[in-house]
């Protein structure tokens, strides 16, 4: 049987077809080849939502970029929408999303740190030289603080850091294909155990020492969160313990604060001490799972976003989303990771748990200077003779720190100013060198100690320049969620680039950013700016306003 196709006269169908029908359904179609590649890559890994960032790393590491075809295939595999995977992938600096028609990313990327200390010590020049000299197979990009400020300037070739870098050394490293990380000497498991490691944990688990004993030791020691917020550690653990389970624990080792490099210092050299502290905490709060958030090492990786040092955006990031800070309340100890009560501690905080419990709270509190208690790991960088992580008494002044721990100022440099707390802790002049550096001592000057990243500036440095460098850092690292920070940092940087600062407007803006930003980044981003206006009137002498 055969039928004639009914001949339809053009007028008969009401749709006049101003356009042509699409040959495929709406939007981008999944490329079968890309789909197969992604399936091969993921294999039997779970397709859970919170693993999105991990899977993006997998693609980035394998293909040195994330093509639109792969991204679409990943979305399909994970049963996520295109928008969901795209917005996450493009939020993090370490992912290179390449759309159809765009050039491929060269196989090797060199990241040159442009944050404060590196910028002071020739980072810009290094960047410029590398951009001029690098061949076509190498991409040279700026990067925010990589945490080797004591060896500024720094470049990262693939995953290999080149310290005290020169352009020729960087290029030689690249040419030699030496792109894997260097691991320094460290205390291994046997050595750690030999020196009494994991005994405390064993005692705790066996009930030879009670949870209460540990909590009491922490409370008596007044150990505070060394990530920068300074919340009393014992109290935090108790707060989480007071919430109904299941409870989770997150270790924040993101350490993105420019000038800070202490956490990595301890992690690379004595990881078991921190792990024991972590397991003690997990035992005490009865955590069902522990997540360790590290900027680069495998476990749960960040992907290049300073904001993920903020504890609630870190949670978002672990959940596989864009790292947007959450509104508080509720606090993470109430509603944290995956909606569960969550203990979040900085790596160094946990590092000290064993020592405090073993040696007693009194041992900890006996340390300190100028009326303060405990020890601090100061990350000192800039114009001093011997920069580095300095374990010093809490409350030490910057002058004492330079003279006693850093061998004085670098040759030819005169102490001019200092950052007492990384990028957001403000800037103080050398004349204010007698303030104890600790939690609570700097606030009255509009500054804070934060993670104890001390950057020393000399007469060769401009504090206005430093403030602009820091504001640009915040401008880049703002997550973009709230207006005061997203637009405020951008406008502030624009205003600060001008030869003459509109100090009135900048002050107004600073106040609004402090008052109305969602998280600490925006609230503190203007600290350097307001410090400069307040403490460095000389830098505005020539400016007719």
């Amino acid at each position: 049987m055969s039928h004639d196709v009914q001949q339809v006269r053009s007028f008969e169908h009401p749709g006049q077809g101003r356009k042509r029908a699409k040959p495929t359904p709406k939007g981008r179609q999944i490329d079968p080849v890309a789909a197969q590649e992604i399936e091969m890559l993921l294999r039997d890994r779970p397709r859970r939502r919170d693993l999105l960032i991990e899977h993006l790393h997998l693609i980035q590491d394998t293909y040195k970029q994330i093509s639109a075809a792969h991204l679409a295939a990943l979305a399909e595999q994970m049963r996520l929408s295109f928008a969901e995977v795209f917005e996450t992938a493009t939020f993090y600096a370490h992912f290179d999303v390449v759309k159809e028609g765009e050039p491929n990313i060269p196989p090797l990327t060199v990241r040159v740190c442009d944050s404060i200390t590196c910028a002071m010590l020739g980072g810009e020049k290094l960047l410029e030289e590398l951009q001029n000299k690098a061949g076509p197979g190498i991409r040279v990009v700026r990067a925010p603080c990589v945490g080797f400020c004591d060896h500024a300037p720094v470049a990262e070739v693939g995953h290999r850091y080149v310290l005290d870098a020169t352009a020729s050394e960087v290029l030689a490293t690249a040419a030699g294909g030496k792109t894997d990380p260097i691991i320094p000497d460290y205390v291994d498991y046997d050595a750690y155990v030999k020196n009494g490691g994991y005994k405390l944990l064993g005692d705790l688990r066996a009930g030879r020492i009670s949870k209460e004993d540990v909590l009491k030791a922490l409370e008596d020691s007044s150990l505070r969160g060394l990530g920068g917020a300074g919340f009393p550690t014992g109290r935090k653990w108790r707060a989480v313990l007071g919430e109904p389970g299941p409870r989770l624990m997150v270790v924040n080792a993101d350490e993105g604060e420019p000038g800070t490099f202490k956490d990595r210092f301890y992690l690379l050299r004595d990881a078991h001490r921190f792990i024991e502290g972590t397991l003690i905490a997990a035992h005490i709060i009865d955590a069902s799972d522990v997540y360790i958030y590290l900027p680069t090492v495998h476990l749960r990786r960040g992907a290049g976003a300073y904001i993920c040092g903020e504890e609630s955006s870190l949670l978002e990031s672990i959940e596989g989303k864009r790292g947007l800070p959450r509104h508080k309340p509720p606090y993470p100890f109430q509603v944290g990771l995956f909606g569960q009560p969550t203990l979040i501690n900085n790596l160094e905080t946990l590092f000290w748990v064993r020592d405090i419990v073993e040696k007693g709270a009194a041992w900890w509190t006996a340390q300190g200077r100028n009326g303060r208690h405990g020890l601090r790991s100061y990350s000192v960088s800039g114009r001093v003779k011997n920069p580095g992580v300095k374990l010093a008494p809490a409350g030490i002044t910057v002058r004492e720190l330079i003279d006693e721990f850093c061998g004085g100022m670098a040759d030819g440099h005169t102490f001019y100013a200092y950052l007492p707390g990384g990028a957001s802790g403000g800037i103080l002049p050398a004349s204010m060198d007698d303030i104890p550096l600790d939690f609570g001592t700097l606030e009255k000057y509009g500054c804070f100690i934060g993670s104890a990243a001390i950057v020393i500036l000399s007469q060769q440095d401009s504090v206005r320049g430093a403030a602009l460098n820091l504001m640009r850092f915040f401008e880049d690292e703002s997550c973009g969620q709230c207006t005061p920070c997203r637009v405020g940092t951008e406008k502030a940087a624009k205003l600060m680039e001008r030869p003459v600062w509109n100090r009135q407007l900048l002050e107004e803006l600073s106040q609004a950013m402090r008052d109305a930003s969602i998280c600490g980044l925006g609230q503190a981003a203007s600290n350097p700016l307001t410090s400069v206006i307040k403490y460095f009137p000389d830098e505005f002498k020539d400016a007719a306003e």
Binding site: S2, H3, V5, Q6, V8, F11, E12, H13, P14, G15, Q16, G17, R18, K19, R20, A21, P23, T24, K26, G27, R28, I30, A68, S81, F82, A83, F86, E87, T90, F91, V97, K99, A305, R322, H327, E475, S478, C479, G480, C482, T483, P484, R486, V487, G488, T489, E490, K491, K494, L495, L505, E508, L509, Q511, A512, R514, D515, A516, I518, Q523
Partner: protein
């Protein structure tokens, strides 16, 4: 619930639990500035714009009042110096990057309104570089230079409508609203629901029609009228914006069914009423215009076949033709098709015309083609054809089954609630041979073999019974027939059914357990269940599932056949079907007819009339000679169109009442220009049993008239003493005869806009959930009827090796008469397409966009083919809206024996490539 006492600007106030500071202030009569916060339903406060900052005593920083809930004793200052300074600074930062107000995309936007109110319309800050306009979409314009990254569009797209197209990509001040992978909107997966446009506070997202080519808003409405959407059974409430007596834009209203949400058809598909093809004068067939099944008339120039006539002449001719046949050949020589697109009043009056004017029960409408089998099964089992719970009950369910339905296409707004439920953690199980948009949200998609529904469902019933997952108490209290089912279901083990339906036995078991064990399970179904020769059996299985597990009559449970047309529920309720008088009173029952005969002052035919397909057959048999077709298009919607068109052309007298010269009107003797939805007042009953009032937005064009008036005029000319003074009159009469409308007066509808039946009291809301304590059957019990496995009528063979299934696309409605004349819908889906799996296409060496020839035992068409991986292998899916390649030329008219519904979802087809015809176009 305890209230929270706190201090707001020095005054003691109370907050309800969960209420935010902003909401309390609003209740107190104060509106705190806000941009990223929308008080519209279902929008989560996000607190990102920081325009609503307030000062809370004792807190270091300010708080976003839209998000913050007060605690007891909290002291809040909404207008302290700090709060005001922050509010103003936020505005000044945003104003810096806005386009000039006068030439902006919406000078009347919420943003500018607040800028003015806060007193900051100028900025001291330098402006930043912003994004270029995106004009790629047929309906909307994207101008991100006005974007304030507030994310309302993201929430609209992702959290409210869950279409998941819009994202906020990148970061810092580069954070950007993107479609998919930062693609042009028109090339993205956007389904054009327009929710983002409705949510956008700045004009960055606008309906295209409001902007000139410089992207400046130039169009402002003269007035707004609240009414409803004319398309599907969801029953969305709409506000129409009118300028110069033309509808220019539709906005979603906060109706109980739609919470402001609309889909592309409801929001952008309204302008068919202004199409130049619109009929504005009655037409009468020219004496020399012979009728032929294959004849075609140009709707833009019908004068090859018709001439204009006065209403007087046209009505006389129309009625005289009907009267002549009735008088010469008896009442059975006539039949009428009403429409599920018309109001309850029109449906009621039309069936009354047929029953009293024509004198028979030969009246039907397109319900026959959609849910007749569902209604047959529901009537048989529960003595009620309506849903047991509204679709929003999905939000209370733990397990949701969607079977044989594609709601994101056919009931898009209902689908949003199902997606909302799935996002909140409900387990969604989709069962359909074709994958669909819902599949991504589903816990499981069971892509069973086409036509194997009963095997699949019986395996589930078998599992539930053999594993003891039944609700014995419910069965004992509220059902009958369980023992018979138990005996008959023994053979339908998952192992035996698995090869038939193509779903592994373990999956069948898992899904059965999920459904039976959950606290609350609900079933939604569509035409994939009903449009089979075993459609009634399919529905019987669903009813049995609910009855043996007690998953009906409680919140979050139920049986919900998703009704297709905006008033298919109401038209059926009003008696626009051949076997029932209004409210499903069987015509054969002498005790039931009395009321009607009394009020209508006439004896009624006690024999049930013919159904849609039966009427076509009766015309060919010479039994029916004349028809009155109001707003239906059987020349496109019937199966085996050649047969149906032949019947229409064979009629001695055909009166068609419609907006356009439809394919059915090609064969008319008289065409009466009718009123469109937006031009009439009346009540419409949605899929939830919600009776809603539509209002006249504009007047019908030219000499087009109200349908109700036309029906009455025909009635009068057939000797009926009618004198209705509009829809209120008719409604009042029908409400007297329909107990379902008790306590729902016309006045109440005018006042409340929507009332669900049954309503127990004129002042209380109607009952959303029914069957809470048994069923309206004589025994009060729900009857369980076992179903047997029966294959589709026409199986693939060597000659016709593939399966053809028909349905719809998102943009086009039914036979396309309206939507293909809606400019946006036509632009998005402009041509006839059939859908095939990419694998089949590769096998046949077809490229996407090639033409194929589809042939069945009944006909052949040539059509463009779209590669769609949702379509299973060996299937061709085809929308039936395209006149130039009418799918129903191919479909099988075999009927379900109970519902008399044709098997639109399954017939054997051969597909082959054809030489590119498009070159000639």
């Amino acid at each position: 619930m305890t209230k929270i006492q706190f201090e707001l600007d020095g005054k003691q106030v109370e907050a309800k639990p969960g209420e935010t500071i902003w909401q309390v202030a609003k209740r107190q009569g104060q509106e705190i500035p806000h941009l990223c916060y929308s008080p519209a339903p279902d929008y989560r406060p996000d607190g990102n714009c920081r325009a609503c900052m307030v000062e809370i005593e004792g807190e270091r920083v300010l708080a976003a009042s839209c998000k913050r809930t007060p605690t007891v004793g909290m002291k809040v200052k909404t207008a302290s110096e700090r709060a005001i300074a922050a509010q103003k600074m936020v505005m000044e930062l945003l104003v810096a990057d806005q386009p000039e107000r006068e030439t902006s995309h919406d000078p009347d936007s919420k943003f500018w309104h607040w800028a003015e109110k806060v007193g900051v319309t100028e900025s001291r800050f330098p402006s930043a570089e912003r994004w270029k306009p995106d004009s790629s979409h047929a309906a909307m314009r994207v101008n991100l230079d006005a974007c304030i990254q507030c994310g309302l569009c993201v929430r609209a797209c992702r959290e409210v409508q869950v279409n998941d197209v819009i994202g906020m990509a990148y970061r810092n001040h580069g954070a950007k609203v993107v479609f998919d992978f930062d693609d042009p909107m028109g090339e993205s997966t956007c389904v054009a629901c327009g929710e983002c446009v409705q949510a956008c506070p700045t004009g960055a997202l606008m309906p295209a029609v409001m902007l000139d080519e410089k992207q400046t808003r130039v169009v402002y409405p003269d007035r707004k009228v609240d009414s409803l959407c004319p398309y599907c059974g969801v029953g969305c409430q709409v506000t129409y914006n009118v300028k110069d007596e033309k509808v220019i834009y539709a906005e979603g209203r906060d109706g109980p069914a739609n919470h402001n949400r609309l889909c592309v058809k409801g929001r952008f598909g309204f302008d068919y009423i202004h199409h130049p093809h619109r009929l504005t004068k009655p037409l009468v067939r020219l004496p020399n215009a012979k009728k032929d099944a294959n004849d075609q008339v140009d709707p833009a120039n019908p004068f090859t076949h018709f001439r204009e006539a006065s209403w007087e002449e046209a009505l006389d001719l129309a009625a005289q033709g009907l009267v002549r046949i009735r008088d010469q050949h008896g009442p059975k020589g006539l039949a009428g098709f009403g429409s599920a697109k018309g109001s309850n009043e029109e449906a009621y009056l039309f069936q009354k015309l047929v029953r009293t004017g024509f004198g028979s029960n030969n009246v039907d409408h397109c319900t026959r083609l959609c849910h007749a089998s569902s209604v047959a099964a529901l009537g048989e089992g529960l003595n009620s054809g309506a849903v047991s719970a509204p679709f929003s009950a999905a939000l209370d369910a733990e397990v949701i089954i969607v079977i044989g339905a594609n709601p994101t296409v056919n009931h898009p707004v209902a689908a949003t609630f199902i997606k909302n439920a799935a996002k909140r953690g409900a387990k969604l199980i989709v069962m359909d041979p074709r994958r669909q948009m819902l599949s991504r949200h589903a816990y499981k998609h069971l892509a069973f073999k086409p036509g194997s529904d009963v095997a699949l469902l019986n395996a589930m019933i078998n599992t539930i019974i053999t594993e003891g997952l039944t609700d014995e108490q419910y069965i004992a209290g509220y059902t009958e027939g369980f023992e018979e089912l138990k005996a008959k279901i023994k053979d339908f083990t998952p192992e035996k059914m698995a090869p038939i339906c193509g779903i592994p036995a373990d999956t069948l078991r898992e899904v059965a357990r999920l459904y039976a064990r959950s606290r609350a399970s609900i079933i939604f179904w569509g035409m994939g269940i009903s449009q089979h020769v075993h459609g009634t059996d399919n529905a019987r299985c669903l009813i049995a599932l609910a009855l043996i597990t007690g998953q009906v009559g409680r919140p979050g449970t139920g049986l919900h056949p998703l009704r297709g047309q905006n008033n298919v529920q109401g038209a059926s309720d009003a008696g626009l079907i051949p076997m029932f008088l209004p409210d499903y009173q069987p015509v054969e029952r002498n005790d039931m007819r009395g009321n009607f005969e009394k009020l209508w002052k006439q004896e009624l035919d006690p024999v049930r009339g013919l159904t849609v397909v039966e009427i076509m057959n009766a015309i060919h048999a010479g039994e029916i000679r004349g028809m009155y077709i109001e707003g239906e298009n059987p020349a496109m919607s019937d199966p085996d169109l050649q047969h149906a068109r032949g019947a229409l052309a064979k009629l001695e007298h055909l009166v068609v009442q419609d907006l356009f010269v439809t394919e059915t009107a090609f064969h008319a003797d008289v065409i009466l220009p009718a009123s469109a939805f937006a031009e009439k007042e009346g009540t419409f009953t949605n899929t939830d049993r919600r009776v809603q009032l539509a209002r006249e937005v504009i007047k019908p064009p030219g000499d087009a008239r109200q349908d109700l008036w036309i029906i009455q005029e025909i009635g009068r000319r057939m000797g009926l003493p009618w004198n209705y003074n509009g829809p209120a009159d008719v409604y009042t009469e029908m409400a007297q005869l329909m107990p379902s409308l008790d306590n729902i007066s016309w006045e109440r509808l005018v006042r409340e806009g929507a009332v669900t039946y049954p309503a127990d009291d004129p002042t209380k809301p109607g009952n959303e959930i029914i069957f809470t304590t048994g069923f309206p059957t004589e025994s009060g019990r729900g009857k369980i009827v076992p179903a047997r496995v029966r294959p589709p009528d026409e199986l693939p063979d060597d000659q016709y090796p593939m399966v053809l299934s028909t349905g719809r696309v998102l943009e086009h409605w039914h036979t396309g008469a309206m939507t293909r004349r809606a400019s946006v819908l036509d632009e998005i889906e402009p041509e006839a397409v059939a859908f095939m799996s990419p694998k089949d296409m590769r096998r046949m060496q077809l490229s996407p966009g090639d033409f194929i020839r589809l042939e069945t035992r009944r006909g052949a068409v040539e059509v463009k083919v779209r590669a769609d991986s949702d379509v299973p292998q060996n299937m061709v899916f085809m929308p039936f809206c395209y006149a130039e390649a009418a799918a129903n030329l191919l479909t099988n008219p075999a009927l379900d024996p109970f519902g008399k519904i044709p098997e639109f979802k399954f017939c054997a087809v051969r597909a082959e490539p054809v030489e590119l015809r498009s070159a000639a176009e």
